[in-house]
């Protein structure tokens, strides 16, 4: 099959960037989307041109590295799939596609289709963890975890942090990501001691990174390759509102 690609090319963060047209004449329907780009890049390299830069790592749909917009949809037309697991059989011979990087102030473009998602790391660093005192491991069954809670926590923890939710949101909101990270700990007993502080810190970090607000339209859920539910956003909202009332400054801060 033959595919025409309009790809966003941008040399670096300062470059203005623009679309360039590429022809992919011999695409096999068994190729993944990234393999198709690999072939296009082979051609560019042998012609002495710069290959198209795109993020990728595991190519199994589980690492969260890959992702860009394919004709206006994050990770392309197949739902519940990362772009590395999207196959060319989902397209038709003669299709013309537009490839764009995630667009958000908090995700600056590094080069072509590659964006800097360090903002997500900083949100995690602000509270997406449980503090554990080191020492001998406790007994595995010492803390009872209800099965439904474990399942919901696991569903939320499936988030691979690819950034498609931000990319698909008209407000470039990181609510789905942040809420998934707040939820998977909030649902487990181990996450309770820091639950309020976590919600406040992670929400404030999310705001400080320059992501937009959530308007509950659900586009994030629709493109999420891990099918994270916006129910998590409601849980984040609930935890944040409750925490705003429950949270007290630490004793040390009161003494200041």
């Amino acid at each position: 099959m033959r595919i025409t690609l309009n790809v966003w090319r941008q040399k670096n963060a300062q470059d203005k960037g623009g679309f360039e047209k590429y022809d992919a004449p011999n695409v096999s329907e068994d190729m993944s989307f990234l393999e198709m780009l690999d072939v296009v890049n082979e051609g560019l390299i042998s012609a002495g041109k710069d290959p198209i830069a795109f993020d990728h790592d595991c190519r199994e749909g589980i690492c969260g590295m890959c992702g860009f917009m394919i004709s206006g949809v994050a990770h392309g037309p197949e739902s519940g799939t990362t772009v590395c697991q999207l196959h060319m059989r989902k397209f038709k011979d003669g299709d013309e596609l537009w490839l764009e990087p995630w667009r958000a102030k908090a995700f600056p473009v590094l080069r072509d289709l590659t964006v800097d998602r360090s903002a997500f790391d900083r949100i995690i660093a602000s509270g997406g963890f449980v503090s554990v005192h080191t020492g001998s491991a406790i007994d595995g069954n010492a803390i009872a975890v209800p099965k439904p809670a474990a399942d919901l926590a696991m569903d939320a923890a499936a988030c691979i942090g690819c950034g498609a939710c931000v990319a698909a949101c008209p407000n470039a909101s990181a609510s789905l990501f942040t809420s998934a990270k707040i939820s998977h700990l909030a649902l487990l007993p181990q996450g309770q001691p820091e639950r309020d502080r976590r919600a406040i810190n992670m929400v404030e970090r999310m705001n400080a990174e320059g992501f937009g607000h959530c308007t509950n339209i659900g586009e994030c859920e629709a493109v999420c390759p891990k099918e994270i539910k916006i129910e998590n956003i409601a849980r984040m909202n609930r935890d944040y509102i409750c925490a705003s009332f429950k949270d007290r400054p630490a004793v040390a801060r009161l003494a200041d």
Binding site: R103, A172, N201, E204, G210, H213, T215, A222, E231, I241
Partner: protein, 233 residues
């Protein structure tokens, strides 16, 4: 989590709540619900235009409100304050949203978002202009088409005189469709925003929001349309 705790501002818990996007959304949800409550009461009261008594009941109801300043002004203050906070939060959040995506996509498709949910801001702006006109038209009585003949004691007469004008009826019906759509997404959305979400309830909440949005749009639109068609005179 002793490490974190770098507050967004030195303004106490309330200041931090209000300065966050979630806090502003919560304010929008609560104030929106207050205004929804007002809109229901306003519609039920005004539906007395259909009493078929030439406006006796409706005008008596208006006189009752006027003679109960605690109720009238209490409502005006609460609803007015809600409107101000709602618009302030919307404007602030919209600015954040615009700043969050400085470079637009060449192509961006919505996969499933409903039309009302995608047009909350511009729908809201339309409603704001409508509310200003509506107050000048039927509360203050200085806007056309009845600026000269407006009477503070004859609500029924003001309505009947106004809605002979098809263009005005069109404006009112259009505004009520916008209100119905705004309420559809708003009523559903407020549960999500306040964290009152449950997979067992959300489909019912969504249906309920649709029904209430449609009832408000139909209920309000029925009055100018009935007057235009001569069913109420």
């Amino acid at each position: 989590m002793s490490s974190a705790a770098s507050p967004a501002c030195d303004c106490g818990p309330l200041g931090r709540f209000v300065s966050s996007s979630l806090g502003k959304k919560a304010i929008m949800a609560v104030t929106g619900f207050v205004m929804f409550g007002f809109v229901v009461g306003h519609m039920v009261g005004n539906l007395q235009v259909f009493a078929g008594d030439g406006g006796v009941k409706l005008n008596a109801y208006a006189a009752f409100l006027k003679n109960t300043p605690a109720l009238l002004w209490g409502t005006r203050i609460v609803v007015g304050l809600s409107l101000v906070l709602h618009v302030w939060a919307a404007a602030t959040l919209k600015r954040l949203s615009n700043e969050a995506r400085p470079v637009q996509y060449k192509m961006r498709k919505d996969i499933q978002a409903s039309v009302p949910s995608r047009n909350m801001f511009w729908g809201g702006i339309s409603l704001l202009f409508y509310v200003i006109y509506h107050l000048l038209h039927l509360t203050v009585g200085v806007a056309s088409p009845i600026a000269g003949t407006f009477s503070h004691d004859n609500v029924y007469g003001n309505m009947v005189a106004s809605f002979q004008n098809p263009a005005l009826v069109g404006v009112y019906v259009f505004a009520m469709i916008a209100l119905g759509m705004h309420l559809y997404h708003g009523l559903y959305s407020l549960f999500q925003t306040l964290g009152l979400n449950h997979p067992g309830y959300m489909p019912r909440i969504r249906t309920g929001a649709k029904v209430f949005g449609a009832l408000i749009a139909l209920g309000f639109s029925s009055m100018p349309v009935a007057i235009l068609l001569g069913a109420v005179k």
